[in-house]
């Protein structure tokens, strides 16, 4: 997935989360609004009910028309309120309960009407009782009148108190009276009034009961709706916290994932660039995926590989250059050494010739003389001088030969045969030291057009050195092979003691010898080197202490014009 897609994906997840949270919050809010309406309705009902109860009490106390009118109007309000309740709220309350409420209100209204009727009946009846009492009072006489007046006193008390006790007191006195038709009717009227009073009390109780039921319902409704609103609010709060936590967690997870998939490859790339800056081009950084960073890493790797290859070939070129420079320096050094050596040799040669002649003359004279004391001793000394001069002569001649070179005669010959010939010359020395010669000579090598005598001199020098180097019974391996299209090579390897690294560098320098003092002039290899170079070839040496030394002589098939040294 590309980084752009990743970012878009993360953004989409955020937007989705925000939309979900927004939707939930909106739904909660609308629910809360509905519930609050319900609370409002419940409160309205409760308030109306309170008004009704107030007027109900006032009416019951004063029994006047004003209060009953007010009560009726509030009751109408209440019914309107109840009827105006929205359907969904009714569903929420429950239809049965709603109907119960309506029934309760209906019953309440009925009972109120009933009690109003009863009150009217009571006042009618009370008027009738008073009228009947007044009529009887006019008709009765004497003692009976006195008793009836006392009874009327009890009647007044009952009318005032309207309770069963005062009615009973009245009844007891009434029963004790002598009965007549009028008195009977009067008593019956009082009794009917008592019955109405009882009925009123019953209805009153019913009214209280219904009112309480309505009150309880509205209180419950209000409380329930408030509780619901609170519950929803609490749930919303929880949801909000949960949503925030989810957003936080998802956000962190997405960001961490994004950061990992973007930053980690970048860091890895950065690490690689640092290493590359430090010169380590072999670092190939693997980044999985198909995004922009992966393709960047791919380009980076390609660049690294190309740089690595370029650096590799550059290093090789520099190495070659160093090698050439080293060879050049070596050749220059040897050339100047040769010039110096030749100069020294030439200068020394003349005084050497004088010493030689003087000593020779002394020897001649000594030999001619008869009576020279200690003649033999002197002759010994002279011959020692001559011997030393002879050694010097060898050195100067070789030095001059090394410096000036010899005439080059070019002929075509087979190098393997030339090697065999040289080995033949040295047969005696090889046998004497019991050396095993292993020949790997290619008899089908192309003919070489070069100076055979000089090359044989070279081979002789090298093989002689090998013979000197190995122990008795040592092994010398001589091989000839092709070296590229335009040259052949002869390799002479021995299992002698080898040459330490610090000495191998100087091995072709004049007067440098690894042999014992007095055994070598230190010129053999420098002359050999000079010859090989003059013939356009190369001579190299490899050696390991304790394992042996190997010389490789490269001879071009044709002599190239080369600077003489």
């Amino acid at each position: 997935m590309k980084i752009r897609d990743k970012l878009l994906f993360a953004f989409a997840i955020y937007v989705l989360l925000a939309a979900i949270i927004g939707f939930v919050a909106y739904k909660d809010l609308s629910t809360i609004t509905n519930r609050l309406q319900l609370v409002q309705v419940a409160d309205d009902i409760t308030n109306t009910l309170l008004e009704i109860r107030r007027h109900e009490k006032n009416y019951l106390l004063f029994r006047d028309k004003d209060h009953i009118d007010l009560l009726s109007s509030f009751l109408a309000n209440l019914k309107q309120n109840i009827d105006g309740i929205q359907r969904e709220i009714i569903l929420d309350i429950g239809n049965a309960k709603y109907m119960e409420l309506k029934n309760s209100i209906g019953s309440y209204e009925k009972k109120i009407n009933e009690i109003v009727e009863i009150h009217r009946a009571q006042s009618d009846l009370a008027r009738m009782v008073v009228a009947a009492g007044q009529r009887l009072q006019k008709e009765l006489r004497d003692e009976l009148l006195q008793r009836f007046i006392a009874l009327r006193q009890l009647e007044k008390d009952f009318l005032l108190k309207k309770d069963s006790r005062s009615f009973k007191v009245f009844q007891e006195s009434f029963v004790a009276m002598p009965q007549g038709d009028d008195l009977g009717r009067y008593g019956m009227l009082v009794e009917r009034l008592h019955l109405l009073h009882t009925r009123e009390a019953e209805i009153h109780n019913a009214i209280i009961e219904h009112a309480r039921a309505i009150e309880l319902f509205t209180t419950n409704l209000s409380a329930k709706e408030r509780a619901d609103v609170n519950a929803i609010l609490a749930l919303s709060r929880k949801l909000l916290v949960l949503a925030l936590l989810t957003v936080l967690a998802v956000g962190v997870a997405i960001n961490v994932k994004l950061a990992k998939s973007i930053v980690i490859p970048i860091l890895s790339l950065e690490e690689s660039t640092k290493r590359m800056a430090e010169g380590d081009f072999s670092v190939v950084n693997q980044i999985r995926g198909h995004d922009e960073i992966a393709s960047l890493a791919q380009s980076f790797n390609d660049m690294g590989r190309q740089l690595n290859e370029t650096m590799g070939s550059l290093e090789l070129a520099v190495q070659n250059l160093h090698e050439k420079q080293r060879q050049l320096v070596e050749a220059e050094k040897l050339a100047s050494l040769g010039t110096l050596a030749a100069g020294v040799a030439h200068e020394i040669n003349n005084p050497l010739a004088i010493i030689n002649e003087k000593a020779g003359l002394m020897q001649d004279l000594m030999e001619l003389s008869k009576n020279v004391p200690r003649k033999d001793k002197y002759l010994d000394i002279i011959s020692s001088i001559l011997e030393s001069v002879n050694r010097c002569r060898t050195i100067t001649h070789r030095l001059l030969g090394f410096a000036r070179g010899m005439e080059t005669t070019v002929e075509a010959f087979d190098i393997s045969t030339a090697v065999s010939d040289v080995l033949g010359f040295l047969g005696q020395e090889i046998t004497a030291k019991k050396i095993r010669i292993q020949r790997f000579l290619d008899s089908f090598l192309p003919a070489v057009a070069s100076d055979k005598a000089q090359l044989q001199q070279v081979l002789l020098n090298i093989i002689k050195n090998a013979i000197d180097a190995v122990e008795e019974g040592g092994v010398i391996i001589v091989s000839s092979l092709t070296d590229g299209d335009d040259a052949v090579a002869v390799v002479i390897a021995d299992n002698g003691p080898g040459i330490p690294e610090d000495r191998i560098k100087r091995i072709f320098e004049p007067f440098f010898t690894t042999k014992e003092k007095g055994k070598g002039t230190g010129l053999g290899l420098s002359i050999t080197y000079g010859i090989v170079r003059r013939l356009g070839g190369e001579i190299t040496v490899e050696s390991e202490v304790g394992r042996g030394t190997s010389f490789r002589i490269r001879i071009p098939l044709k002599i190239h014009a080369k600077k003489e040294i």
């Binding site: 004088i354 030689n356 002649e357 003359l361 004279l365 001619l368 030969g401 000036r404 005439e407």
Partner: protein, 125 residues
Amino acid sequence: MHQTTILIVDDEVEFASALAERLEIRGYSAIPVFSAHEVLSMIEAHNPDVILLDLKMPDSDGIEVLRNIKKIRPFIAVIMQTGHGDPDSVRLAIESGAADYIMKPINIGELTKKIEALTEDTEKG
């Protein structure tokens, strides 16, 4: 028997005189010549059989001296002495008429052998 006369031409006085003395001891008549300029007059004076000529002298070129000798006395045997076996100089000397060459320091035996060989030839010739 004719005594062989040898001119030793070398600017090194000590060398030439010592070598002359040694050749005298060996029965030759040897005359040292220390300068190239004197060579022709000495030839006139001594009529030598063999001339031992140094190839390189500070005041003259040995090859030039050799050619001059050959002009007046083509049959005198000249042995060139060189400090080294420079093949080009040797070849040039031989081409210019030198009979042989010998390298310094000289081995007396080698020199007398060469002289004998050369004088035998002339005697025979």
